[in-house]
Amino acid sequence: MHADPTAETATPSSTADAVRRRLVRKGRWSVAEIAFWLVAAATLVFLPERHLILNEIAIIGLFALSLDLILGYAGIVSLGHAAFFGFGAYAAGILAKHGLADPLLGLAVASLATALLGFATSFLVLRGTDLTKLMVTLGVALLLGEIANQASWLTGGADGLQGISMGPVLGLFEFDIFGTTAYAYSLAVTFVLFVIARRIVVSPFGLSLRSIRDNPLRARAVGIPVNRRLVAVYTLAAAYAGVAGALLAQTTQFVSLDVLAFHRSADIMLVLVIGGAGYLYGGLLGAIGFKILQDILSAWTPQYWQFWIGLILVVLVLAGRERLTDRVKALWPRSRPSPDGKAQALPVTPAREV
């Protein structure tokens, strides 16, 4: 073996320990992360009058997390992610309407069904340019929307799916009109799925996804079965989106065609852009930011709030989220960004380390 003349006098085993520590470090939770979830849990007690909107935020956050898995980590762009959200919502709603009242069981079945749909459609996004993927995903969502509209015997069509009655969560907690059970339920499910996703992205599998996003040609050349990995993550992301949709159906006990609408897919992209793709918290923070913005702007100017959302989107994308956050970070001298070309052009927002 060739000894490295530039290395310090460290023995090989201590170098190995350092390397292992650096690799494993990514799996560990930081204080900020733990604080984030503690605050989220605390809102269950301290913000009782906001549980309905918090429930919505948790659901949107999970939906955006799902998009982050394919966009931020695997580099698959999608303008039709609502296909899975809507499918999961209808699956859960229809199950509940036909007697499967247990929320968790309904959630499991709905997510499995959505995973199957994701698996089947994943083969459509393996090939082609980003534009092809945008159009194919958009097309699939439009198709599903029209099917849901036509099959009114099953979905209620334009009137929406009514008559959903959910049983208590775990047989204990009835859904209440204040949304407290709903929020606790959505938050718990989102947290569990987040923990799993967080684990996945620091695993070798997650690393291989990032390599595919960065350079699929080279990923193949190190022996990674690129297509199989993309199918796997697309299926997983579909299941996540399906769960988010199912949570919405179960906690609001209503499903309308709106869940499959184009604006759902567009909004969730917006949420991820606001929060930042490629570090999992982007979806959750984006959901909070998006909902708060929507709340403030629509109270201030009910008819024109979308104007401001649009303006913010343009600024975020043109100025670059990375550069904005680096500006903010530069205010604290200790965390000054490294003087490197962070603005270097990459196909998607580069992943920051978890």
Binding site: R199, F205, R210, N215, V222
Partner: protein
């Protein structure tokens, strides 16, 4: 003994153009074999056929005596055929640590592992350290790849391929574009590759060919023009005419 890598009557046509013309070739075990040829001789097409990016029109490719003609690129890598690229093909947003870790854990079956944190397995970490030291990357392991000096990127390019533990390594112009100051380090690591790895070097730079290779094949117009030891090929007047003469003019 079976050749490390062998082609039999390999043909590739693009419409009317014959890009690879009946190439029958053996890369012996432990060889240091150079493949040279003027621009447009079909070197890139041949690499793409060997690695499985292109399907041959006819002919066979054998790795350690086993037919791999129909295997997909990633399967060939898993069987021990790795390559480097003439133009860096790295993961700009990842660090060398992650890049090497990716290749090592992928080879050890870790790519399907979605639950354990990368680096929790001892054998993976040990191998990352060994490769980082061999390719003189130990001091830049945590840099973003896009920020590395070009010479270091070239080293990483070879390190990633080496991390696949290939039995056959295709080096595509490894020193291309490396500034003089960083060249020595690169050539030294290439020369120090272990002998149980058979190397096919595709190269323009004759100094590197003569210092590294023990056999040379010359490719002209898609066909093998001649093959022999370094002395034979460099003394061959026909080779001088089609290739060496040209490279002096460059």
């Amino acid at each position: 003994m079976a050749a490390a890598l062998e082609t039999r009557g390999l043909m590739k046509r693009f419409g009317g153009l014959v890009a690879t013309d009946n190439v029958t070739f053996r890369l012996e075990q432990g060889a240091r074999h150079a493949l040279i040829g003027p621009n447009g001789a079909g070197k890139t097409t041949l690499i793409n056929l060997l690695t499985g990016v292109l399907k041959p029109t006819s002919g066979q490719i054998l790795l350690q005596g086993e037919d791999i003609t129909g295997l997909r690129p990633e399967r060939r890598v898993q069987r021990g055929l790795a390559r480097t690229f003439q133009i860096n093909q790295l993961f700009p947003a990842m660090t060398p640590l992650e890049t090497i870790g990716l290749a090592v854990s992928e080879r050890l079956g870790g790519g399907r592992d979605w639950w354990r944190v990368t680096g929790s397995r001892r054998e993976i970490v040990d191998e990352i350290v060994e490769i980082a030291q061999r390719f003189r990357l130990a001091d830049v392991l945590d840099e973003r790849t896009s920020n590395l000096a070009y010479g270091k990127q070239r080293l990483l390019e070879i390190a990633v391929a080496f991390a696949c533990r290939p039995r056959v390594l295709l080096l595509d112009e490894p020193a291309a574009g490396v500034p003089e100051a960083e060249r020595h380090e690169l050539l030294a690591t290439v020369a120090a590759l272990p002998r149980d790895v058979s190397v096919l070097l595709i190269e323009h730079d004759m100094d590197l060919v003569f210092s590294f290779a023990d056999r040379i094949s010359v490719l002209v117009n898609g066909a093998l023009f001649t093959e022999g030891s370094v002395e034979e090929v460099s003394a061959d007047p026909r080779v001088r005419a089609v290739y060496l003469g040209e490279s002096v003019d460059e």
